[in-house]
Amino acid sequence: MPTEYLVIGGVVLVALLILIMLFKAFWRVAEPNEALIVSGLGARGKSDTADSLGFKIITGKGTAVLPGFQNARRLRLDSRAANLQVSCVTQQGIPVVVRGVVIYKVGDDLHSIANAARRFLDQQDSMNGAIHELFTGHLRSIIGNLTVEDLILNRERLTGETRASAADEMIKLGLIVDSLQIQEIDDETGYITNLGKPHAARIAAAARIAEAQRDQEATEAEQVAAANKAAAWRDSQIKQAAYQAEIDEAMARSRQAGPLSEASARQEVVVQETRAAELEASLAEQRLQAQVRKPADAKAYETVKLSQAERDARIAQAEAEARETELRAAAQASQVKQAAAAEAESVRLRGEAAAAATRATGLGEAEAAKARGLAAAEAARAQGLAEAEAAKAKGLAEAEAIRARSEALAENQEAVIAQQLAENWPQIVEAGSRAFGNVDHMVVLNGAQGVEEMLAKALTLGGTGLGLVRSLLNGATPAPAPAPMSSAAPVPAPTPVSSADPVPAPASAPGGSGGRERSR
C-alpha cells in the first residue's frame, strides 16, 4: 500500500514539475526596460490601425509563446550614449573639433518600438555607430551655421537646431533624444583663446588696479595705525607717569602714616580719658543723688504723710464726737417722747372717764332738749323757709346785676372802667400822693396854682396808668386790678430801646471797615 501511494505521489510530483517546466518554456515576461517582440503563428498585433504589424509587442507583462511556432525576442528600451567627435568649420570659417555625447533611447510607444524593432532588433549593439554617423552629419551642418560664440554661449539654439534637423530621422528610426551635450571644442587657430584675451586683459588690469588701490589703502591704514600706536604709546607714558606720581604720593603718605597714626592714637587716648572723667563726674552726681537727695526726699515725704495721718486722725475724732452728741440727743428725745406719751395716755383715760359721766348726765338733758328742740325746729324751719325765699330773691337779683354788668362790659368797656375807676378813686389818689411822701422840703413857686398843677400832674400819672389799663382790657381780659399796674407800666418801655440801639452799630462797622480796605 505505501509503495502505491509513493508511486502516485511521485507521478503527481513529476507531472507538476513537467507542468512548471512547460509553463516556463511557454511563458515569457517583459521587464520594465524592455519590449518583447513576438512573431510567428497567430502573432497579430493589437494595433488600432487596420494594418497588422505581423508581430506582437509586449511591454510590462507576460505572454505565452509557443515554441517552434512563435519566436520572442527582447528589445532593450533603456537609454544609450553615443560619443560624437566632429571636425568642422564654423560660420566664420574657423576650423574646430567638437566632442560631445548624445543620450538616446527607443521610444516607449508602440510605433517607435515597431520602427526600432524592424531596424535594430538583431543589431542593437551597432545602434551607436548609426547614431554617431547621423549626428556627426547633422552637427557638421548645424555648426556650419553657428559662430563659435553661439556654440559656446547659445546652447538653446544648438539643441533647437539639432532637433529640427534630426527629428525626422529619429522618428524613422523609432528613437528619441534625451540629451545632446557638447563637451569640448578644440580650436586650432587659437580663436577661442584670443576671444578671451581682451576680457582676460581687462580683468588683469582691474585686478592690478584693485591691488594697487588696496595696497595704497593698506599703506595708509598702516601709517594711521603707526600714528595711533605712537599716540597710544604717548598716552600710555603720560598715564604711567601719572600713576608713578600717585604711587610716590601714596608712598610718602605711607611713610608719614606712622607718626600720623601715633598722633591719632594719642588723640583717641585723650578722648577716652575725657570720657572716663565725664563718667566719674556722672558717678559722683549719681552718688550725691542717691545719698543726699533721695533721703531728703524720703524724709520730706515721711513728714508730709505723718502730718496728713495726724490730721485725718483729728478729723475722725471730731466726727466721732459729733456722732456721739447726735446719738445722745436722739436718746434724750426718745426719753422725752415716751414721757409725753405716758402723759397723753393718762389724760385720755381721764377724759374718757369724764366723758362717760357727762354722757350719763347728757342723756337726761337730751330728752328734755329734744322736746324743746322739736318745737324750736318747727319754728326755725318756718323762719328758714322765709329766709331762703329772701336769699333766693336776693341771689336772682345779684345774678341779674352781674349779667347786666357783663353785658355792659362787653358793650361799653370804658363806662365800666370809669365806674371801677370811680369806685377805686381813693386808692389811686393815694398812690399818686405817695410820690410826695418822700419830699422833705418842697418849694412851690406859683403858690396855690402851682400846688394845683403839681397835683394835676400826679393825677395824670395815674391817668396814664389808666390808659394802659384800657389798652390791656382791649387786648384780652377784663381788668383784674388796673391800679397797681399804673406805676409799673412806664418802666419797661425805655429798656428795649436802649438794648436795641447798640445792635445795628456793630453790624454796620465791619461793612465800613471793609469799604476802607477796598479803598486802600
Partner: protein, 66 residues
C-alpha cells in the same frame, strides 16, 4: 494623446521643431511639436494642449492658457 496638456521645452514656431513634455503612459515623454495655428510662436515654458497627434512622436499644439 489628444486633449492632454503639456509644457513647452523647446520653442515652437514656423520653421522650427519645438518640443513639449506630455504626461503619458505613466511617465513624461518628449514630443516634437508644431503650432496648430500657422505662424504662431509659443515660447518655452508655456502650457499647451495637444490638438493633433501624429505617431510616433509628432504633435500639433495650441496654447492652453491665453
Amino acid at each position: 494623446m489628444i486633449g492632454k496638456q503639456g509644457r513647452v521645452t523647446g520653442k515652437i514656431g514656423p520653421g522650427l521643431v519645438g518640443e513639449v513634455l506630455v504626461s503619458v503612459r505613466g511617465g513624461v515623454e518628449a514630443f516634437y511639436a508644431h503650432p496648430t495655428v500657422p505662424d504662431e510662436e509659443i515660447a518655452t515654458g508655456s502650457i499647451v494642449v495637444v490638438v493633433e497627434f501624429f505617431p510616433p512622436r509628432t504633435v500639433y499644439v495650441a496654447r492652453a492658457l491665453s
